[in-house]
């Protein structure tokens, strides 16, 4: 039996364990809610994690390319990048999949027929973890980028007018009513 066949046969159990391990990174009083409430709008975190990890698992088994894996795991990492986690805790749940799969092989992990196959799977999980870390970093950078631009939008119209006046002033021109003639600037929109 190949690792792929093993993962397909035991999909439900392995996935359920992986999702359980990921939920367990949240406070105990919240885990029951995340794990049991099925309405995707009433339980967006639980739903995002279940849906995201299921997609990632299926893509891993199917040997999907990194771009596909990145899309699958984006929502989960995006979520954890703004929750109460350190960087390693935000992405660390990925590695749990290796442990769970090894354990699920029930002592057969060392068999020569599986060894190479299992190493390849482990490397795929490692790649997934690196992708997750890339995504985590890009989400954090996006947070700071959006924060900076939000400040400008809050006084966009005042800034637009102030810039017009400063420009006139810098060129030694008299400030008149016409200086605040409206102009629609491309950079103003969100």
């Amino acid at each position: 039996m190949s690792i792929r066949e093993h993962l397909l046969t035991n999909r439900a159990d392995i996935l359920s364990s992986w999702i359980g391990r990921t939920f367990a990174t949240y406070p105990a009083d919240s885990v029951r809610f995340f794990a049991t409430r099925s309405d995707r709008f009433a339980n967006p975190v639980g739903d995002t994690i279940k849906r995201g990890l299921s997609a990632v698992f299926d893509s891993l088994v199917a040997g999907a390319d990194p771009e596909r894996l990145r899309e699958d795991i984006d929502a989960v990492i995006r979520l954890r990048s703004v929750q109460n986690f350190s960087a390693q805790d935000a992405v660390g749940f990925v590695f749990a999949l290796k442990e769970i799969v090894h354990a699920s092989l029930n002592g057969h992990a060392g068999e020569s027929a599986l060894r190479e196959d299992l190493s390849a799977f482990d490397r795929r999980v490692d790649q997934l973890a690196l992708l997750a870390f890339d995504l985590y970093m890009s989400c954090r950078e996006q947070v700071y980028d959006i924060r900076a631009r939000e400040e400008k939008a809050r006084s966009a119209k005042l800034l637009a007018r102030a810039h017009q006046i400063i420009e006139r002033h810098a060129t030694g021109q008299k400030i008149t009513r016409d200086d605040i003639t409206p102009q629609v600037e491309g950079g103003e929109r969100q």
Binding site: A12, D13, I14, S16, S17, G20, R21, A24, P27, A28, D29, S30, V31, R32, F33, F34, R37, D39, R40, F41, A42, N43, P44, V45, D47, T48, R78, L79, V82, Q83, N84, E99, I100, H102, A103, S104, N106, A109, C139, Q142, V143, I146, R147, R149, E150, E151, A153, R154, S155, A156, K157, L158, R161, I180, T181, P182, V184, E188, R189, Q190
Partner: protein
Amino acid sequence: MAGAKPKPEKLSSVDYHPPSQSWMDVPPNVRPGTFNWAANPANAAYLDLPHVRKWQPTDEDWKLPDNWQQIVLEGLADRLQKYRSLKLFMDICVRCGACADKCHFFLGSGDPKNMPVLRAELLRSVYRRDFTTAGKILGKLAGARPLTPQVIKEWFLYFYQCTECRRCSVFCPYGIDTAEITMMGRELLNSIGLGIDWITTPAANCFRTGNHLGIQPHGFKDSLDFAVDELAEITGVRVEAPINRKGAEILFVSPSADYFASPHYYTLLGYLALFHEIGLDYTWSAYASEGGNFGLFHSSDMMKRLNAKIYAEARRLGVKWILGGECGHMWRVLHQYMDTMNGPADFLEEPVSPITGTKFDHARATKMVHICEFTSDLIANGKLKLEKSRNDNVRVTFHDSCNPARAMGLLDEPRYCIDHACNHFFEMPENTIREQTFCCGSGSGIGTDENFEMRMRGGFPRANAVKYVHEIHGVNMLACICAIDKATLPPLLEFWVPGVEVCGVHELIGNALVMKGEHRVSDLRGEPLPGQAGADGEGAADQPAEKEVSKDV
């Protein structure tokens, strides 16, 4: 784990849950990105607030006044005496858990202290210890705990992780309004000088010049003139924006962000176009130049001080009644407190639309009408010519802003306006709209950039529902009627649902409005106007609006 070698079928039964810990034993975590900076001492002093000092939440020592416990406990005793609701809320909660999973901060963070029941326990535990016999005798066994500096830090963090949106109160079988508990918590914090800057500074500005940014009368006039010029350029129609005009029939009050922030500004253009087209006899006020009232997020006294200017200006200008713009908490203050605080407004008349003759008798007490009520009445009476196809570039969903929706029940009027201004309107799932709407996660004065991570958590349930209609129906525009929403939803959506922008209802009305003598080639944002030659979406005007209510899946 590899050594344990469980059978595959046993894996799903492994309990990975961490051991439970009493919430009282979990210390508060002052994590960057999840709290708000302390009030600027100069602005706190301007408002005559007590115990003004320099401190920050990141400091180990918050420099509490010597008798801080006495101040807080006496303050709590005063409020228990003054507000029967608070006394009830402290006593009657049976911890049934109905509210527990209804808070957007809990749903987005998984932090149990964001369950409304537990947020209330932060205060209730202190109440039990000092105001109930069981708590005095049994202490922690009865859910009581002493008031320590750590408790105060916890209050500061969690009472500023509540947007006072009141979604939890919709589900409480006893009608406990956790927002009011948060309000009491914040009042007590402020009594020992623990206010946040994004509430204190706008409040001080508002007290001084009438609006949050401290724009002075000439600046206010400049802003409106700027908008009038811009509208003339877009529509070819030059409108008037009268300011402080005595004897006008109506005083119009909107949030100040409408005239200095984006995308609010396009809603302002919509108001100006609308008022001109119907020939409304109205005026702006350079002092009542702010609908928002950050006093609501500080204390009842501050709310009253800031709100008073609206009636004072209505009296000074001699108007008959007041029309209010697309603002969120202004309507909560208005609907629930204004008449009690600063009424009766017996010098004003019961509002009657000068265009349709409709009597707004529901506004008999406050004499103030919401612009969506006013506009939907105009539409219902056939007073507006609206060309829906001009909004064919947008596929719209509507976010019920917490305060107009839950505090004043304004649910159908904005939808009626959107329905008549757009061809493509889609509802979000029913457990995320109307009375059950999810907050933007940034209301009640905590929409700051330093608190950005917490806002992304709190806004996630809202964004999650927007994402659904974006994926299913191609929604690319989220309409709302609150200035805080317009400021905070764009970054929220940029993070969670790229491709969806935010607009006001009156921006859509302003785009669709056919004005006499107009010449338009662009919409209010300066983008090509759909329905015009060469633009997208022409010929859709006669089609009925698409309208779907998505069910939970």
